[in-house]
């Protein structure tokens, strides 16, 4: 139930962040996996704590599968998660702790842990530790262990445990200063700062108290963790570390001749000084070949860069923030250099170093804000910001560079101090207002009392346009209809007969015109051809009449045609305007008009 509630809470948090657009909804990207043991040397039966740290961009949950090596017992001791949301990115850190116990003395190698994130599998590197058979010699100091002769010197002792004895300059060393006691102490030990010449130390968290089993014996363990950073190369010594503890001392009952009448205190609380033996540390100098951007940072670090806005006005501050974070001596790290084009005045706007002492290692972030004041509009380029550090895990230098950031610089607000310097930063000089110029004739949108800014016509253009369009369309459709009609054979025949009848009527009306009878004969032949569907072109009168007979034209009709043609032929040689000619023309016109009327009917 708790798990489902936590999942629901996480889902709600992610949905809220996504809905507010605070984070990009991209898939998880693995940043790194780190595996470490809390101490390289343990006593027989004493567990070593192995931490597997997975850093990723995103919200996905990583799963860690422990190996099953022979001779070691590995059990899961706990998990923790941490989410950091900054500059629009989410960094999730999952730490899984394993308790590894080896019963026999010797050197052990824990095989790689398998890590799965969003379906992608990877492995950690193997880690080693050593199990020694016996407890250290009596480590008590001052009054020899506060223990009298004959007492077990391993019942109460202090020891100095470091996670590594061979490091690089400025590399982090995590030291556990422990007091182990077979019986509980009266209170937490009073620790003294260990001697650490050549180191810079930073305590990690509050002193701890737990119970462990070493070499088959149960102990109360009082522990203080300190991160040390060597400040010079060479062979250095950490410690000795001293602490004062309060223990209860039990006394043997003294001889009482009165048989118990004299009271004697059987126990008392005594303060004992303890001293943990020093540890030698070999510190290597940094290797050669450092990049130009390297300024002394050592650890497992990363750089983040952001600007507080993508657009700024002239004279307003633009804050560029750099944040270096990760494991390492962040207090001694140097902030990366920021260069802009064009160069503009800049001022420190803030610096902050946050150290996380709660974990097993010193982590944190170092942030610096620089305010740039752009003095001209256009684009302000924040050139790639480079940060270099030495990664002791990988044994090499690393360099991280940001992208070039382009910031738009708008002109200053009118009336502002900055505006005075850029008020007329023009791309060319504007033309003067027309009111100051002599009026010049210009093409205007004619036909509108008021020019139209929308695209539709109005007024005269609209009316005349509609009329023109209607005329265009109307005449076009009418012409098309007439063309179609002209293709109708019946209508075509009707029209041609009407035309022939008209020609004959005109000839009959003016019989005095020269060659009237000849034209009328040709028109009558054409009309007969149209009326009865024969081709009269080039045929003699006899041939034409034969064709009409073959077309089964009525005999009376053929007779009338023959007579009319004959009269026209005869009148062709008669004087113009004579009565015979006029009668012949009228006869032919009557025949053609009758055919035209028949065809129309």
């Amino acid at each position: 139930m708790i798990g489902s509630r936590a999942a629901a809470t996480r889902t709600l948090l992610i949905a809220s962040l996504l809905s507010f657009g605070l984070v990009p909804c991209a898939g998880a990207t693995l940043i790194r996996t780190v595996v470490a043991v809390d101490r390289p040397v343990v006593q027989r039966g004493e567990p070593v704590i192995v931490s597997v740290t997975i850093e990723q961009y995103g919200f996905s949950s990583a799963t860690v599968e422990e190996p099953r090596p022979a001779g070691m017992a590995i059990e899961r001791a706990g998990t923790s998660q941490n989410l950091v949301i900054a500059a629009g990115t989410v960094v999730r850190t999952d730490v899984t702790l394993f308790r590894v116990t080896a019963m026999l003395p010797g050197k052990y190698t824990i095989p790689p842990f398998k890590v799965e994130l969003d379906g992608k599998r990877t492995e950690t590197r193997p880690v080693t530790f050593e199990v020694v058979a016996s407890l250290p010699p009596g480590a008590g100091g001052g009054e020899p262990g506060g223990q009298s002769e004959g007492e077990d010197r391993s019942a109460l002792f202090a020891r100095f445990v470091v996670d590594r004895r061979h490091v690089t300059w400025n590399e982090q060393i995590v030291a556990h200063i422990q007091v182990l006691s077979r019986t509980p102490l009266e209170d937490m030990p009073a620790w003294e700062a260990p001697e650490a010449t050549g180191f810079w130390g930073e305590p990690l968290g509050e002193p701890r108290h737990d119970r462990v089993t070493i070499d088959g014996r149960a102990y109360d363990r009082y522990e203080r963790i300190v991160a040390f950073f060597p400040t010079r190369p060479g062979r250095l010594t950490l410690g000795p570390a001293r602490a004062r503890v309060h223990v209860v001392r039990h006394h043997e009952p003294t001889f009482d001749p009165l048989g118990g009448l004299l009271m004697s205190a059987p126990t008392e609380v005594v303060e004992l000084p303890l001293e943990a033996a020093p540890v030698d540390i070999a510190v290597d100098p940094l290797p050669a070949g450092a990049p130009p951007e390297f300024q002394g940072a050592v650890g497992t670090l990363s750089l983040a860069v952001r600007v507080d806005r993508p657009r700024v006005r002239v004279g307003e501050p633009l804050t560029v923030s750099t944040a270096v974070r990760g494991d390492g001596n962040l207090a001694s790290a140097t902030d990366p250099r920021i260069v802009t084009i064009p160069d503009c005045p800049s001022y420190p706007a803030g610096a902050r170093t946050d150290l996380d002492r709660s974990g097993g290692r010193l982590r944190g972030s170092r942030r610096r804000d620089i305010a740039f004041i752009p003095d001209q509009p256009g684009s302000l380029l924040v050139l790639p910001i480079a940060f270099a550090w030495f990664d002791p895990e990988a044994g090499r230098y690393r360099v991280q560079r940001s992208d070039t950031i382009v910031v738009r610089v708008d002109p200053a607000k009118e009336g502002s101090v900055a505006a005075a310097g850029v008020a007329q930063t023009a791309v060319g000089v504007p033309a003067a207002p027309r009111a100051a110029n002599a009026p010049s004739p210009r093409i205007r949108a004619r036909g509108n009392a008021e020019p139209s800014l929308h695209g539709w016509p109005s007024g005269f253009p609209l009316l005349s346009g509609l009329l023109s369009l209607a005329g265009y369309a109307g005449f076009g459709m009418a012409a098309s209809a007439r063309r179609r009609a002209a293709k109708d054979p019946r209508k075509r025949r009707e029209a041609l007969l009407r035309e022939a009848a008209g020609d004959l009527a005109r000839a009959a009306a003016s019989p005095g015109e020269p060659r009237a009878a000849e034209r009328a004969e040709a028109a009558l032949r054409d009309a007969a051809g149209i009326r009865f569907g024969i081709d009269p072109e080039g045929r003699s009168r006899r041939d034409l009449l034969d064709r009409l007979r073959a077309a089964e034209v009525a005999g009376a009709e053929i007779e009338a045609i023959a007579e009319s043609l004959q009269r026209l032929e005869q009148s062709a040689f008669a004087p113009g305007g004579s009565g015979d000619a006029k009668a012949a023309l009228e006869s032919a016109a009557t025949i053609a008009r009758r055919w035209s009327d028949e065809c129309r009917a």
Binding site: R408, D410, G428, R442
Partner: protein
Amino acid sequence: MPGLNDATALYDAGSDALAHGRLGEAVLLLRGAARIEPRAKDVARNLSIAEARVALSRGEIAEQGKTPGAGGTGMLLSSGEGWLLAVLLLALGAAGMAWRWRRAGEITAHVKPEPRAARLTRRALDIAGLTGLLAALLLSGMALQDQLFPEAVVVDASLPLTAASGQPLPDAPALVAGERVRLAGEREGLVEIRLGGTSVGWGRLSGVWRVRDAARYTSPSSMERGASREGTNG
């Protein structure tokens, strides 16, 4: 700023806004003037300068006249002139159609060949009519586009883009004053912003002004700004 009912008034008001650094207002009014007088050199020059300054404020390296579409509407004729020309061509085309109609009715046995001049004239009238029809269709299309997706200019100094729900779009850069956009749907004080035919988000309705309403633009310094904007642009 009432009474911007001709190109000169729009040009003068836009030039004054340009001189005082009010880029959004300058581009809006000069675009309005350019719609009426697309060949006016003074309008084109000041509009080119205003748009170049807008490009600079966007962070682009711009020179006068080098901004895409700068310096005018890209048209030789205003819409009114275009419509007049289209009407004239349509009228000629109608005359050609009438001629065609008349000839299409002739059925005669004595076909006479059409004179060459008459044939060429008829073809010219046909071409004029078709050109007028195409011009009218083009102008109607442009007017319809401006009706559906009216051209507008960002008049606020910065216009952040949001989703339709009003939620900010973190990856979308804010528009700057003077940028030309097209508008689409409106809802609850927001208007859909389109650039290059694509919707890029929603912005405050009060932050943009339609170019076709440039004559009714009310300066932000005016007392009646709110009421006028709600009444004219909204």
